[in-house]
Every structure is written in structure tokens, then in C-alpha cells.
Point group: C2
Chain length 132, copies 2
DNA sequence: CTTCTAAATGTTATATTATTACATAATGTT
DNA sequence: AACATTATGTAATAATATAACATTTAGAAG
């Protein structure tokens, strides 16, 4: 049962942009693209991004300082994310593999720490780039 | 068989500082600390950090833009890293769990991509912070 | 429908993180 | 010694992100 989040004006503009782009986008490139829609300042972008991340509509690719629309409909909250990143063309895709997420969600070591969240980034060459 | 890397002057200064700190350090806090040793510019710090990451003496905590000394003697190259991060006190430690690393190193999905590297960051509350 | 509150917005300034470009010096190899 | 590679020094600037403050909008409670 997915909670419906009514996105605000800025949130919707920015989510739609990222979603339509189909890939990761950087904050200042988003800013540039939405200036014609009246969003003028970095903070307006970052605030929308923060909220979108919080509700799981987008995820942050930490190693790239970029944001991508969630490609996994069951992912309501960004608390368990995994991505594959091509180091040549920088293509990013979200990995939704139930075994992997089960394994990591249940992972515990001997530190006595209970993990509530994780982010995993895999790097390599995608099919296309490998065959070049 | 561990390759011996002869660190250069700046690399050694910066590695020693991070190593002795026992935790993650940020680039500009490193810069501040090493100014008395003659390292004056950000680039000098970033260059040393880049090299240290490349040879696996330190790792970058992507979600924190911080660098930590490798706590895992068998880790020559930063190609398979996992960390646990306390979201309250920001304590970070490197996870060395052979099952986990084996699982992730062998992970493959149906994207046809062969992963050569990964970085995993777990978040939660450490023992101390949990009991507060 | 009004009062209250929480969330979102707008705006300016500034902090933090990282790289470009170019010159020089030290180190290792043949 | 000549060459190539790696490291250093320095100035400028680019890219990423937040602080502080004023105002507005949207929901919830009476």
C-alpha cells in the first residue's frame, strides 16, 4: 500500500525533469533546466531534492553527486538502495534484486550495530562499453 | 604479497594524519592540520588523497565526503569496500566480513555487467548512541 | 470560516568540496 | 646523461551545498 505523496509545485517540476531524463542528474544541471519555470536558486533545488529523497521518489548516487528517479516501484523510502554504475559512459541503473536486498537488509556483523539503511554502488563497464 | 608503496613526502604526512586520527577526516580539515608542515593548498591535499585511495591506504566515505585509513590489512586496492556509519555520532568503521565481500564480489545480475568494484555504506546507530 | 501549524517558497549571501591550468622539481629507468 | 614518470607548488576558479531570514501556501482543529 503505497502512500500517495502530493508533491508541491517545485517538487513536481524537479521530479518530472529527473524522471523524464531517464538517468542521473546533477543539482546544478537541474537548476539550469528549471530556471525557465521560475526556480532560480540552488536552495530551491536542494530543498526539493531533499524531500524527494526522503520520500523515496529519487535516490542520490553518492559517488557521483547525482540524483536519479527511483526505478523500483516498491521502493517507498530510500533506505535500501543499490546501483550499477558504468565507469566509462556513466550510465547508472538501480538494481532490484530481492536476494541482494534481503541479504543486505538482514546483514549484521559483530559490532552490535543494527543497520536501518544502506547504499551500495557497483562499478564496472556496461555491455556497450565493454564491447568497444 | 603486499606491494610496498613508498609514499612521497606529502602522501606520508597526510596518511599519517588520517591514520592517527582513527576516524574519517575531511579534506579541508586535513588541509588545516597540515598547514604547519608546509602543505598550503587544497590541491596538494587532494592529490595525495587521490593517490592514497588509488593504492588502497585510505578509502573515501562517499556519503560523508571524508577519508579514512584502511583498517583491513589485506585490502591493497580500494575495489571492495564496506562501512558502517553511525548517523548520530558519525563514527565510521570498515567492515571486514569475508562472507559479505565474497557475496558482493561474486554478485551479478541480469544486466550483463561485470562488476570490478563496489562500495557499500550501512547506516544506523552505534551501540553507544543507541543506549542514550 | 478562522485560527493555528506545518510545510513549502523566495532571496541573498556564503560555506564547503573539488578541479583546471601552468610551472617546476624530484625520482626512477635506460 | 637523457628521458620519462611521478610528485610538488601556486593561483585561480568551478562545482556542490547550506545558513539565515522573510513570506506564503496548504492542511488540520476548533
Amino acid at each position: 500500500m503505497q502512500k500517495e505523496h502530493n508533491l508541491s509545485k517545485n517538487q513536481k517540476i524537479i521530479f518530472d525533469l529527473i524522471d523524464k531524463s531517464g538517468g542521473p542528474m546533477k543539482a546544478y544541471s537541474i537548476l539550469f533546466s528549471v530556471q525557465k519555470k521560475g526556480i532560480k536558486a540552488p536552495l530551491q533545488v536542494y530543498r526539493a531534492l531533499d524531500k524527494l529523497v526522503e520520500i523515496g521518489k529519487i535516490h542520490k548516487i553518492e559517488s557521483r553527486n547525482a540524483f536519479i528517479a527511483c526505478q523500483n516501484s516498491s521502493c517507498q523510502i530510500s533506505k535500501a538502495t543499490a546501483f550499477s554504475i558504468c565507469e566509462s559512459c556513466e550510465n547508472v541503473s538501480e538494481i532490484s534484486n530481492s536476494k541482494l536486498s534481503k541479504y543486505l537488509s538482514n546483514f549484521s556483523d559483530n559490532s552490535g550495530m543494527k543497520y536501518s539503511k544502506y547504499n551500495l554502488e557497483f562499478f564496472g563497464l556496461c555491455k556497450k562499453c565493454k564491447s568497444k
